[in-house]
């Protein structure tokens, strides 16, 4: 499956990026495609293009803060989890996505 994801945490210097890394790693292991946008203390990095969002099967929002540009994902299948979940059990998020589809 194809995914796009956004990660974000309150301080925005550690967990945001740990979650992004874990999502990318787990997606590779499970044979999924994923692009992860990070919303940390540096602002938005690796921003998702409209095309990437349009072609994704589902959107993973792993954030403890309100993310910017949430309206970009209106109408998509969304999986919203705390940022910790992406770091600790990223596999379960993809399993959940498979079940939703």
């Amino acid at each position: 499956m194809k995914f796009v994801a956004v990660t974000g945490c309150p301080t925005g210097i550690a967990h945001t990026y740990m979650a992004a890394e874990q999502l990318e790693k787990t997606a590779r292991e499970l044979g999924h495609e994923i692009q992860v946008e990070t919303q940390g203390a540096m602002g938005i990095e690796n921003e998702l293009s409209p095309a990437a969002i349009a072609s994704a099967d589902a959107v993973i929002l792993a954030a403890d803060i309100a993310i910017e540009g949430a309206e970009r994902f209106d109408g998509k299948t969304k999986i919203e989890v705390p940022v910790q979940t992406a770091i600790k059990e990223a596999g379960s998020i993809f399993a959940q996505a498979g079940a939703v589809k």
Binding site: C9, P10, T11, G12, I13, A14, H15, M18, Q22, A41, A63, D64, I65, A66, Q84, I87, K88
Partner: protein, 362 residues
């Protein structure tokens, strides 16, 4: 209904954390610049550092104070932004700005509604703006809603409410301070212990800030020892947890060890928030350990008459500290208490888990 309530609470927590995430760099920037300016300033007439003699130091102090004065507006503004997106900014910022205005209390003292006031203003602004967004508006007014109607009326509504409740909230803040102040006479060690516990309890949240602002306001009144105890308590949670990941590496996974390094860095510059990743993952074990460390450090600092002239904590303010040796000792002991106790609790916890499941999954 129970589920609804839980979700609402979770959302509001998200709003608050978003506001805090934008405010933290302002607090760090302001606190550190003020500390630096005071660190290099010669002592003035009353013994406190006095940067007014140097143009460069006065400039740095002013820049730091500007950053500090923006902290509450930014907090209020971005709590509202998280809730209501862009139209929330104006009423949120204004509510936060009003929360930072000094109020004259009945006894003639001044105080502001501060942290609590700014959070309240942000939430109120978010709700008000969201109501506006839902209102049925005739088509011709739609374009001016976000740039005229919502900012003006949102600001009027939030501003009016803030002017009414500012004084009561300021009184709560001062009441808290007075309660702590009265204890100073009775028992300074108990006071240090309570402040230490408050600093560690929510790592930069409202309880932490209440203790911090109490310490900072005592500086203005010429009492540097309260801030001394607070400054020690501020840095031991991240330092202790960071040290713990270095002492017994096997107890922590890769991510936690990385967070540990970041926590050490943040501890050195007096940012208690560095402890949050650990506390969020395992509050039951982490909170008691960091509170124990902060209490120990604060009490040692109070006993050794450590004083801090800057409204900031951690090893970075060492140049403006009285009794520097004891400041370092108190930080070291508090850090060790946290590090050793969390590792002991974690080791015990992992042993128990292994016993419960004889074949560990990982």
């Amino acid at each position: 209904m129970a589920i609804d309530f839980k979700e609402t609470a979770a959302r509001h927590k998200q709003y608050l954390l978003t506001g805090v995430s934008y405010a933290v760099p302002f607090i760090a920037c302001g606190g550190i610049l003020i500390a630096v300016s005071l660190a290099f300033a010669p002592p003035g007439p009353n013994g406190a550092p006095d940067p007014s003699g140097s143009e460069i130091l006065s400039l740095i102090l002013k820049i730091g104070e500007s950053a500090f004065s923006l902290m509450f507006p930014v907090l209020g503004g971005f709590v509202a932004y998280a809730m209501a997106s862009r139209p929330g900014l104006v009423p949120g910022f204004i509510g936060g700005a009003i929360a930072s205005m000094p109020q004259t209390l009945p006894d003639g003292k001044t105080a502001n509604a501060g942290f609590l006031g700014a959070i309240f203003a942000g939430l109120l602004a978010g709700h008000v703006v969201n109501l506006f967004k839902k209102a049925p508006i005739p088509g011709i007014f739609k374009p001016i809603m976000p740039i005229l109607i919502i900012p003006i009326f949102g600001a009027l509504i939030v501003g009016s409410v803030m002017f009414v409740i500012n004084l009561p909230i300021a009184k709560i803040m001062v009441g808290l301070g007075d309660m702590l102040k009265q204890m100073e006479g009775q028992s300074q060690f108990l006071l240090a212990a309570i402040l230490g516990a408050m600093i560690a309890f929510d790592m930069g949240g409202p309880v932490n800030k209440a203790a911090f602002f109490f310490g900072a306001s005592m500086i203005e009144q010429g009492n540097f020892r309260i801030m001394g105890a607070v400054a020690i308590a501020i840095c031991t949670p991240p330092l202790g947890l960071g040290l713990a990941t270095l002492l017994r590496r096997k107890l922590w996974n890769d991510d936690q060890r990385n967070a540990g390094k970041a926590a050490l860095g943040m501890g050195m510059i007096g940012i208690t928030e560095g402890a949050i990743p650990f506390a969020a993952a395992d509050p039951i074990r982490v909170l008691p350990c960091i509170m124990a460390g902060s209490i120990t450090g604060a009490v040692i600092g109070m006993a050794a008459k450590v004083g801090d002239h800057a409204p900031h904590g951690g090893p970075i303010v060492l140049p403006v500290v009285d009794n520097r040796l004891w400041y370092v000792v108190a930080i070291a002991v508090g850090t060790l208490v946290t590090a050793v106790s969390i590792n002991a609790l974690k080791a015990a916890g992992q042993k128990k888990e292994n016993e419960a499941q004889p074949t560990p999954a990982a």
